[in-house]
């Protein structure tokens, strides 16, 4: 997997978060390679990628961070991980991925990317296992509302 594939996801995540939550502090952490399966922080949004590229992206954060981000995005204090939090966090993943796909489309001379609707996997001590691939590229975003880890595994379609 090429490292250049993860950058559009990171820059889209930063700009999307800042647009929804003005004043949010977001710092990009160090790129790492992780072997699947890896331990989820508790609230993982999974989106499949197909078309000229194929793979998956997972936005992972803990429950407290998910509730905080959703509360900010809805302009109301949400007490816990309810349906509105789930739907907000999934749509955040959808928007980041859609924006990243537009960047990749430009960067890769018109290659087209389709994305699946997001699914949210909730549960601590849960493993994100993957039968197809062995390695994810990871970039953590350190924010004032908690960490978000972006996991990307994409390759050119065979």
């Amino acid at each position: 997997m090429k490292a250049e594939y993860i950058n559009p996801f990171v820059t889209s995540a930063i700009s999307t978060l800042k647009q929804f939550i003005p004043g949010m502090e977001v710092n990009r952490g160090k790129l790492a390679v992780s072997s699947a399966p890896s331990q989820s922080l508790g609230t993982a949004t999974y989106i499949g990628i197909s078309g000229d590229l194929e793979g998956r992206v997972i936005y992972d954060m803990n429950r407290v961070t998910a509730v905080k981000i959703a509360s900010e995005m809805n302009g109301e204090k949400i007490p816990g991980l309810n349906e509105l939090v789930r739907s907000t966090i999934q749509e955040l993943g959808n928007i980041i991925t859609g924006n990243a796909s537009a960047k990749l489309h430009k960067q890769l001379d018109g290659k087209h990317i389709d994305i699946t609707p997001p699914s949210l996997i909730v549960g601590e001590d849960m493993e994100i296992s993957d039968s197809i691939s062995d390695k994810y590229l990871q970039v953590p975003l350190e924010t004032n509302l908690g960490n978000i880890i972006i996991n990307v595994n994409i390759k050119e379609s065979s």
Partner: protein
């Protein structure tokens, strides 16, 4: 997106040809997005008469309410049936319906495909309130 500007009430779409508020429907699989779009469209003085959460529901919605609708906002990435497929089906039922795509899938070829299939405009998420308003005004009055 949280709408908190002071000039919230300055943006109004006014009335349709019948002298009534514009009637619309919102289609998006995210309850978060539906909630925000409904709130925003109502702040523009439009009346949201129905919502749907996937393409199939959107087609059923247009079968039922198509003749009452002045416009419809349509997401692309949805389960059951995606928005581009739904767009074709919807326009078969109501060829004159004004459809505004509201999607994160801003790849140039997707935007072109939407317009070729008959959508009037395309708003990329995350959107600015003024941007949606300006495009809607063009769609409704242009």
């Amino acid at each position: 997106m949280v709408v908190t500007t002071d000039d919230e009430h300055l943006l109004t779409l006014g009335n349709n040809e019948d002298g009534e508020p514009f009637k619309c429907a919102v289609v998006d699989d995210s309850a978060f997005m539906v909630k925000n779009l409904v709130r925003m469209l109502e702040s523009f003085d439009a009346e949201v008469i129905a919502t749907a959460e996937n393409g199939k529901e959107a087609v059923a919605l247009v079968e039922e309410h198509g003749d009452e609708l002045d416009f419809l906002t349509l997401d692309i990435t949805m389960p059951e049936m995606d928005g581009l497929t739904a767009l074709e089906e919807i326009l078969k039922i109501e060829p004159e319906l004004k459809v505004l795509m509201v999607s994160a899938m801003g790849q140039e070829d997707t935007v072109k495909e939407s317009v070729m299939k008959g959508a009037k405009h395309f708003v990329v998420k995350p959107f600015q309130r003024e941007d949606v308003f300006n495009r809607l005004e063009k769609v409704l009055k242009g």
